[in-house]
Symmetry: D5
Amino acid sequence: MDRNQVTQKIVTAKVSKKMTWAQIAERIGQSKEWTTAAMLGQMTLTAKQAATAQELFELTDEETLWLQIVPYKGSLPTPVPTDPLIYRWYEIVSVYGSTIKELIHEEFGDGIMSAIDFKMDIQRQADPNGDRVNVMLSGKFLPYKTY
Amino acid sequence: MDRNQVTQKIVTAKVSKKMTWAQIAERIGQSKEWTTAAMLGQMTLTAKQAATAQELFELTDEETLWLQIVPYKGSLPTPVPTDPLIYRWYEIVSVYGSTIKELIHEEFGDGIMSAIDFKMDIQRQADPNGDRVNVMLSGKFLPYKTY
Amino acid sequence: MDRNQVTQKIVTAKVSKKMTWAQIAERIGQSKEWTTAAMLGQMTLTAKQAATAQELFELTDEETLWLQIVPYKGSLPTPVPTDPLIYRWYEIVSVYGSTIKELIHEEFGDGIMSAIDFKMDIQRQADPNGDRVNVMLSGKFLPYKTY
Amino acid sequence: MDRNQVTQKIVTAKVSKKMTWAQIAERIGQSKEWTTAAMLGQMTLTAKQAATAQELFELTDEETLWLQIVPYKGSLPTPVPTDPLIYRWYEIVSVYGSTIKELIHEEFGDGIMSAIDFKMDIQRQADPNGDRVNVMLSGKFLPYKTY
Amino acid sequence: MDRNQVTQKIVTAKVSKKMTWAQIAERIGQSKEWTTAAMLGQMTLTAKQAATAQELFELTDEETLWLQIVPYKGSLPTPVPTDPLIYRWYEIVSVYGSTIKELIHEEFGDGIMSAIDFKMDIQRQADPNGDRVNVMLSGKFLPYKTY
Amino acid sequence: MDRNQVTQKIVTAKVSKKMTWAQIAERIGQSKEWTTAAMLGQMTLTAKQAATAQELFELTDEETLWLQIVPYKGSLPTPVPTDPLIYRWYEIVSVYGSTIKELIHEEFGDGIMSAIDFKMDIQRQADPNGDRVNVMLSGKFLPYKTY
Amino acid sequence: MDRNQVTQKIVTAKVSKKMTWAQIAERIGQSKEWTTAAMLGQMTLTAKQAATAQELFELTDEETLWLQIVPYKGSLPTPVPTDPLIYRWYEIVSVYGSTIKELIHEEFGDGIMSAIDFKMDIQRQADPNGDRVNVMLSGKFLPYKTY
Amino acid sequence: MDRNQVTQKIVTAKVSKKMTWAQIAERIGQSKEWTTAAMLGQMTLTAKQAATAQELFELTDEETLWLQIVPYKGSLPTPVPTDPLIYRWYEIVSVYGSTIKELIHEEFGDGIMSAIDFKMDIQRQADPNGDRVNVMLSGKFLPYKTY
Amino acid sequence: MDRNQVTQKIVTAKVSKKMTWAQIAERIGQSKEWTTAAMLGQMTLTAKQAATAQELFELTDEETLWLQIVPYKGSLPTPVPTDPLIYRWYEIVSVYGSTIKELIHEEFGDGIMSAIDFKMDIQRQADPNGDRVNVMLSGKFLPYKTY
Amino acid sequence: MDRNQVTQKIVTAKVSKKMTWAQIAERIGQSKEWTTAAMLGQMTLTAKQAATAQELFELTDEETLWLQIVPYKGSLPTPVPTDPLIYRWYEIVSVYGSTIKELIHEEFGDGIMSAIDFKMDIQRQADPNGDRVNVMLSGKFLPYKTY
């Protein structure tokens, strides 16, 4: 058994029980963004969060233990994603990557925007020309230092 | 001659003249995000914008023409980026890609967040634990339709 | 269980029952192009369409639910396809890609032809020199905008 | 010297002289699709077509000879294209490739749609919801035969 | 079930029953080259040919149906083959590919040698210095046309 | 200087002087297949053959020396060729590779068909349905031995 | 069933029965190098050798037949091997490859060292500074010929 | 300037001056194997060896300095080599890699054969069936240790 | 059965029994670094160590035997790792690799730092700005020698 | 002009002037590890550090400016490095990567060891069995947080 099998079981249970990620997040007690990532095998749950997941998805005790182990992360099957929605994000990195780099360095100097001390918020914005997906990414700036 | 050579010349001129992207954007009259992408060879300028760029970077007439031609886009030298700042964005796509997909589909149904009808805003947020990079991405939702 | 297993089951059932995609499309009530893509795991069905598919292919309730979940798209096993028919399409992109780009930009300016707000129609054209495959692709033009 | 250098020179001359591909095609006397592909180094010109190109782009005699030599074809720098417009075509092959294969085989049996005995027509279709790019692809069906 | 499983079953049956491809071809009524390709999952059988195969390899009715469906072609597990015999063919393409291209174009002009309207004949030629493998490949020339 | 530069110079000279490979081969005194491969940088010339090439293409003495040095072979820019004519050969290896392997082993046992003790002959075959390219490949069979 | 499964079974049996490759080779009657390669699925056994293997590893009749079929060769899971021992050999090819090429050509002219008419002998050499692995590779030189 | 340019200059000088690697090695005072690797940019020369090379190849003082700097090693342009002679060595690693691993481990236990404390000797062996290339590889065994 | 399956079983047993690697290492009698690598299938155990592991993880006799066989090493599923923690190490190699090479060569001359005669120690260092991971790597320097 | 050209010039000047990295670091006033990385184009210099570098390497004013611009990082030409010294580090990541991950997570929980708030110290340790390279890596632990 590994974490992938637990993820697979959770996804199947979610389909069968017709739950939404927002409902699951409310039960887990975290944002829908973090909760979905955790259920898809990218984050580590506390014992309490895992117990809630056990109840929601009818997991065994061993499966519940796996949710509390740090997983091997990475949720995509290929380096360049084939799914159109996820590809558009890869395209943003490809087309705007050098722009993002230039502007963060201009404002902060040499360093990176953390993908660990990081949070994300996905919202729908109504728009008469077609609703928009608004995503706020927030990461701590970490400077390179000399030594 | 091609667009890459014009980009190379603009970047070198920017270094020599010690301009910032924000100053250049003010002269061009667009946001710093769009302007930087355009100067880095990812966007197409109008004749008026190109004339401003010509003056700023002392371009020839032919180089100025190239800025008005739609470029072959893509600003990174490898499919998986090696630069740590840009890689963190690739990592976000790798780790959170399936989460983003699930949450957008839960809210909007099948479709994508456009990377064309798209804008981006990069801001510094002061924080006593270390300042944060906040990035707002906004893309129109485009639904798949049956036919 | 995942969508691939449902696709596999549908394809096997289609072979056993000797149905054509055109017949299936008529039952689903959409074009043969959209219906085939949906049955091959690339599109999301409505509850009503899924119920028809359940009947046609003797699916379980859970399999029928999976048809209504947005799938991870991409129908080919390798970045460069090995099947000769599909490769010829890849070759068209390889040989004519820069031509298509130039001509669309000449007519519409900077932007893309949507692969989401998109439809396709495949027809046989009788021809004494050998019948022809005629394919009409229609995608909305989406312009890049400044901001 | 090789064909790429001639292509580079033609593209630069086209920018300097502000010609469109449609105008060039009219002078060459072929469709804008074929002409653009030829000028971008994918097709072979006759002596007469090459002479017209020589005059249009002020080519040397040796450059004009190169236009009459069959080129090494393939117009993209990477197997998976990074330019968003061309990527959308690759995405169509990825998402709809298995669909196209199934429908052509259902209609014609085993074989391929030729990418050699092939033509393409790109048209603008006005549409109140946003103009559309319509592309007609026509290729002779070539059947596999037993022997 | 898919075609690969039928191929796997045929290969195993051939081993168990100690048949040669030449014997199988004689029963199917086609050349040994075409028959072997078909049995290895690269070609589509007629109902009559499939019935013969069913008898030879003790296939089920469903397996027999699969032989009559156009397969997803491509018989090698990697883009560059690792098997020494097959690699030698890849090496011929790598070393002599540009030569083949030059000589066919010199004789026929721009176009290709078809891999669809194609046949192959493999013969042993006795030679005192060591017997030779002689392979005759024959493909229709398909010219590019202007339009 | 390296062999690629000599190849480039030979190809350009051939274009300027409007020679055919067949004419060059006659002068060199070998088959058109071997001669073309040699001129494209895949084979090593004798001093006498190199002297003929020097005269034909107006090479310098150093360039002439390079023709007599064993080159680093491989004439294609990518593992999977993009040029349609050469790709068709790669497709033959992909689709028929396992067939070729089976049939040679059935006839000869374990071993390979040599790509070194190898020759090739390309001929045009007139055919009312369209002329055919006939290629005869002949390679010595080399058996694996136990020891 | 395929050859990989037979290999897997042989390796497991070897572990359970605590045999060495040298002992197995003695029973098979060939060198330990050839025998190990054969047992790992890279060589073809005669009926007599296969019968010995059947007895040693308690194979079924069908498994024993598979040992007499020419296998699809290639024993590594990735193009660049990850195992440190095997990688060192890949490194030798990477670092010394051009040296080996130069020296063989200097001695023999254009051609290759055969990997088919080839044998290998691995010996331990005691050395006070640490024992050494000595490997003798011997391959017939095969010259390229003109034609 | 970098080491590759010095290598390029040495190789060109060797061609012009018609020296052999054996002659160069004699002058440098090392084996022909080590000397060739060093001249091809894979090894570091002492001041004395570099001075000899300077004289042999008419190098500048700066070029001579580069020969004494440890180079970035790796002499092949692609992960899987295209040159037939070098590929045969890659094939040996691919086909016999797992065999070599098993036999070294059987004799020595867990560890590697060093590619650093390593030497190589290439000899011609006359043989009435065709001369053979004999290569002796000798590397120190380095055991993994527990700690 | 192979070593991966034993690794999988050990990891699952560790989760179920809530053991830490430090506790397991104490039982095995080696450092936590070596022990973890061994349990994850990268090292070879002695009979005594394997017996301890058998007891700890309730392994069968055959599984215990596998622990004493030298494994095919390499613990990551892709050449560029997707897991953020492991990627940071790959990034260190990418960004600092040329620095490490320069400094080791400056101190030691041409050669390598062994990854075989190698040990590693991972420690937590308390720090008011956030605790630090300190890793000491120690490898024997192995010089290239002339011969 | 870009940063790579400045790096190239610095490396060449260092060779000509026979400086060591340790001497350069002393002049720059930072550790030899950071200084070497900076000179090899991986770090950003302050105005004062750049002025020192200008003097040391006789750089132009524009080259000196480039040293103060954040570079596109990544110092290796291929994803899997070919140089033996650097490869050994890649091998450590490959073989011990999962071990490092497990032990850091066991001590710290889910998160990463930073490669930005990071320092490195390379030391020679005398050892009668052969001197050792000791490398201390120290990175801040960054925990994943829920939100």
